[in-house]
Symmetry: D2
Subunit: 388 residues, 4 copies
């Protein structure tokens, strides 16, 4: 069995992956959202489910909120609820894509009234952050157009800058604005922040507290994502990850499920660039469990990230550097693949037990009775989903 | 002004493009379905709207139904309603992707009960076809899996053959089964009929009355779609088109909006292979007007197909054949582009007037007051959408 | 350490992967072909290098030839040379893409003279097969066009059928014709056999001795290649694999280097469909070692296939079937990933030693002095490459 | 016939498109470079051919050089030769991808000796620019790696910055450095400047005289190229275009041949952003005429750009702005498509005649006898190609 060095275990012990509250609600495609027994009916139940993931893995101490999906009357109560369950509230995600007013844009809208409404929504999100103790405001800009000519892309880019500036000005001293990019969907012809370059120039124009969020499912086919990770770390602008995986579009599958080797390469670059356990670089999941159970889906996800991080840490960087310097292509690649091929699961299980965690979190959760309990309890009410 | 020869006008006069009833209902993305004033509340209103498209263009004499979205108590009444408005009922589309039973498959499902239910749904669709006078049963197989290992793809392929065989056996003498393929969505890892090859081998195993449906938005990036048109016509297995356009995924935009030259190339191959005005090759639209008005969206669409068909017919095939034989690459391409670059709109407008149709169907519809009427009338009730 | 069962070891012992003679010659991109010390100057030297791969791995008992690159005066001598070195001659690959006559096509050419010349080349290849004892004639059809309108794709398809029929008629009783498909390059607009569907309909029209060759690098982005493997095995038409890997185009990188999980999925489907160690399904490499050393590049490649085959054989198919039947998505995926994550290398090394092979073929080759020897010996002459 | 306003004709009269000297030499794929009769044997003959394009179109007053392909003893003589033929020498393109030393990198190379050599090559290029009167040094960075782990991407990025800084420091007052990006090829795993974002951050770190070059064939599938045009113009960093077209990879086909509507959208954005006839934004071709004749291939190309520019100028921007403000999706798209659909060729032919140019440059060139002359004259010698 491969053993993990104290240094590696120390790094793994510090690892924290934020869970998205919406992963516990129902999701689906434009064709159908299938309901799942036991799905939470409110933010309190979502956080309870998220706490289960942390309980069994020790990996997920915070939960991201999505506003207005997670609007509650009393955020202090929500915060206490989370803390009682051993987790904390994390990033606040804004939502300007489900109000009828936003059909043609929000922060980029030509109509000042709508643009102001969208800005105000973000200011309200920062108000919530003040109450929840959240550091990051994450903006996924679901804006764009479907047909060539529909919009003036250039003017929208300028209005986006204006809107973001107003929001940025409201941030508290220790708060950040993180801007996500996505190259398609829900708009089909153009999106207003399609690539890392656009996100970068927008946040660079704001200031130090503005960063880029990299969602691993938001790139064109063939994109070398780890290169972007490297570049954003080099520029000091990588604020956070939204982890998931995809085969073709923004599938939002379990991280590591579609291309585990890509996840490995990304994490190697994170380690290389000083992004691991770096408070400036948040690890988050952004996934949809359309057909599989949600809590074990999240457990599987954080374990996948942990396992691949362990492999990335096993990479013999010194030997690699020598092979790289010698331009020994086969040797360098072999050293790289060596780390990827190690089966770290037994060592991680053993270490987990040493920390009072279950050897097999998936099995432990299944045996815990929690799933049966929520399926029995959560009858009636409206299951949480992506609806406002 | 370019003039269109009598032969071309004769071909254009015969052209008929079937409209999808669902294009008149609301649609959207997984993130949001925006409501539109005036949206139909039932199949009768959908057909009334479709009839408007035909009234102003003379191009859309039939309307495809989607079951169960268009289930009515009395299909004879629906048929009369259509005929009163100058149109007929066309292809019946089955739907096995919105019932909870179909979460993991329908015609391919491992559970015989569910598979039988899905087969029965198709038999019920054929019952409706008998009443509506429809010829084609169109099957879009929205089945597949999201994760590697989730399913036994091979066994599903065999079960699909069994299911289709049972359905095929129920077809009337003049009825057909048309099997659509799609390379992704709503499943992300595998779809059970991902490509024309799979659709072809499945329908070839059934018999003469089974054909392939080619949806122009259902291919991988870089696919030469007109090659597939050519091949299916060559094999005698091209049953129908679902026209639309896309930039990245299955965007279901207005046909010709994203890549008009691709539409031209497809139509050139249709003409070349004898597929134009060939009763064996149905022209249909399959689109979503998520943000634009639906009736003019459909008018624009059928006009786009007509205009591009006119250009395809303008191609000087004799001169092209000579240049091809001489391997004069630039001359052949120039002859090809010549036809594409002709602005056929003035000639079509003139011809339209000569047939008692408006010169500008878009303007005529806008001026007709129909849109204002339905927006005023259709208040209350539930707007039609993709819900069952 | 994971142990491999006798059944698995038995299957692995039977595994044979054919090497391409051209992998030992120089290759590159359109921009530059870099020379490598020690590169063979003739087919005899190529075979000597290929024999090194087999010597150190026991995995590569045959070498494919490419005509005219491997034309020799005396094929019996070449055959004896191979046999003396412990290997045999395998598939013969035709080449109709480097003669000036083939600028606009070969087997599809409009000019009967050129088409006849291309057919004759294939008949000459079969003559060579008779002498070398080869079973398979592999045809990669590098034909197509660069500009829309340049060619009549339909007529080319018909001429292709005619040409293949003539070649097919010349096959000996135990010989086969294997038709490769490729969706782009060297033609940019259309290729005459772009997809498995086209290859399938062409070989199905020929007869039992005609099969499809699947090159893993010849698909559009997002294509589920293991689905095609499944389908071709189901149809009894998978004749051979050309293994390699790619990030974007037809990169011809070392198999398993770009997406090892995809290779795993392909091999799982091979096992599932009875394609492993099935004489009807040949395993071959088709790679280019543009910048890395060629002999160790090939050693690495066959080991990658072997290691992934071992993992595919470790898959607990019974447990998987149960999880699949229960539609337990997470359990099925976990069982699937379990096999992928096993580090089989120690067990394979041990087994290799038990068979008199080196534990570490890469290290053994490096220590053997062969590389230094050929770099010293092969000075002067013209290094083999893709030139005719 | 559509008429073109004096303003449009004035804009078109100012249009200048630089031709690449290498488009007149032979090119091909990694599989084969086909020879063409009449191909130039030296830079002087290339410029003579380029002058033919300008003579017949009035659109191509300058010719870009590629060093070392266009190395001559006497650049003053080459300059006079060009001027005698009515054209001027333009951009100088460096080449650091064909020397054996550059197998693993040039400006990014780990070995200081090789990196210095690559820098010196660029300094030598600037020396040539001083003699030819060229303004722009264009750098296409053909560097990267084929296998994960082969290189330290981060360190290469830093070394690239260092190398570019040294080169930048040598630029004359009125000279510029233009950095091209490309997302794949000739490297397969990573390229050191894969996207506009990387090119932007590199040139932004240099200063005002450094700009980005956008080659229309260098993007991932699905990329909205006109968005990048918009963004770079907005940022003041669009230095030049390399025009061509592609179906899948970097096909380098005739601009406008694969997706004419995309070319229209790009040119609309150029006009919108003030990039037309703006000295800061150079229009260049970068194409390969692998199978078609080269001089008429270039004539066709510049005409395609001119025709599409005319269409872009026909766009009724005022009406469009109104429809955009009203969020009338169909109206905005209709206005946009109106301009695209106009057949501007008759009006351009007439205008051309009024300027003393041929109505049909393709026909005029064919009738001129130049092609026959060079095919007869240029026998013997080595045809120019991509070889050093």
């Amino acid at each position: 069995m491969t053993t993990l060095s104290p240094e590696i275990l120390d790094a793994l012990e510090k690892q924290a992956i934020e869970l998205p509250s919406w992963a516990f609600g129902n999701s689906g495609t434009r064709f159908k959202v299938f309901a799942t027994p036991g799905t939470p009916r409110d933010p309190f139940e979502k956080i309870a489910d998220a706490a289960q993931v942390h309980k069994h893995t020790g990996l997920a101490p915070t939960v991201a909120l999505h506003i207005p999906w997670d609007v509650v009357d009393d955020y202090a109560a929500l915060r206490r609820h989370a803390e009682d369950l051993g987790v904390a509230l994390g990033t606040v995600n804004s939502n300007t894509f489900q109000d009828d007013d936003y059909k043609f844009g929000a922060l980029t809208h030509e109509d000042d009234r709508i643009r102001r409404k969208a800005i105000d929504h973000h200011l309200a999100c920062i108000d919530i952050m003040d109450q929840t103790g959240s550091r990051d405001l994450k903006i996924w800009l679901a804006e764009g157009s479907n047909y060539p000519g529909q919009n003036d892309m250039r003017a929208r880019q300028d209005r986006l800058h204006d809107s973001l500036s107003t929001i940025y000005a409201r941030l508290g001293e220790n708060q950040r604005l993180v801007l996500e990019y996505k190259f398609f969907e829900p708009s089909f012809y153009h999106t207003d922040v399609p690539d890392w370059g656009t996100s970068y120039v927008q946040v660079a124009a704001l200031g130090e507290k503005a960063k880029v969020c990299l969602d691993t499912g938001h790139h064109a086919p063939g994109t070398n994502i780890e290169f972007i990770v490297m570049q954003l770390l080099r520029l000091g602008k990588l604020g956070s990850f939204d982890f998931n995986s995809r085969f073709y579009a923004d599938d939002d599958l379990i991280v590591g499920a579609a291309d585990p080797f890509q996840l490995f390469r990304i994490l190697v670059e994170v380690v290389r660039g000083g992004g691991l356990n770096n408070p400036d670089v948040a690890f988050m999941l952004d996934q949809c469990h359309n057909i599989e159970k949600k809590i074990p889906g999240q457990i599987r996800s954080v374990l996948n990230v942990q396992e691949m991080t362990a492999r990335a840490l096993l990479l013999d960087r010194e030997a690699l550097a020598q092979a790289q310097t010698a331009n020994d292509v086969l040797a360098a690649n072999a050293i790289f693949m060596d780390a990827f091929q190690v089966d770290v699961r037994p060592a991680l299980a053993e270490w987990r037990v040493s920390r009072g965690l279950p050897a097999d979190p998936m099995a432990e959760y299944a045996a815990s009775g929690y799933q049966e309990q929520i399926e029995a309890d959560r009858v009636g009410g409206v299951q949480a989903g992506w609806g406002a």
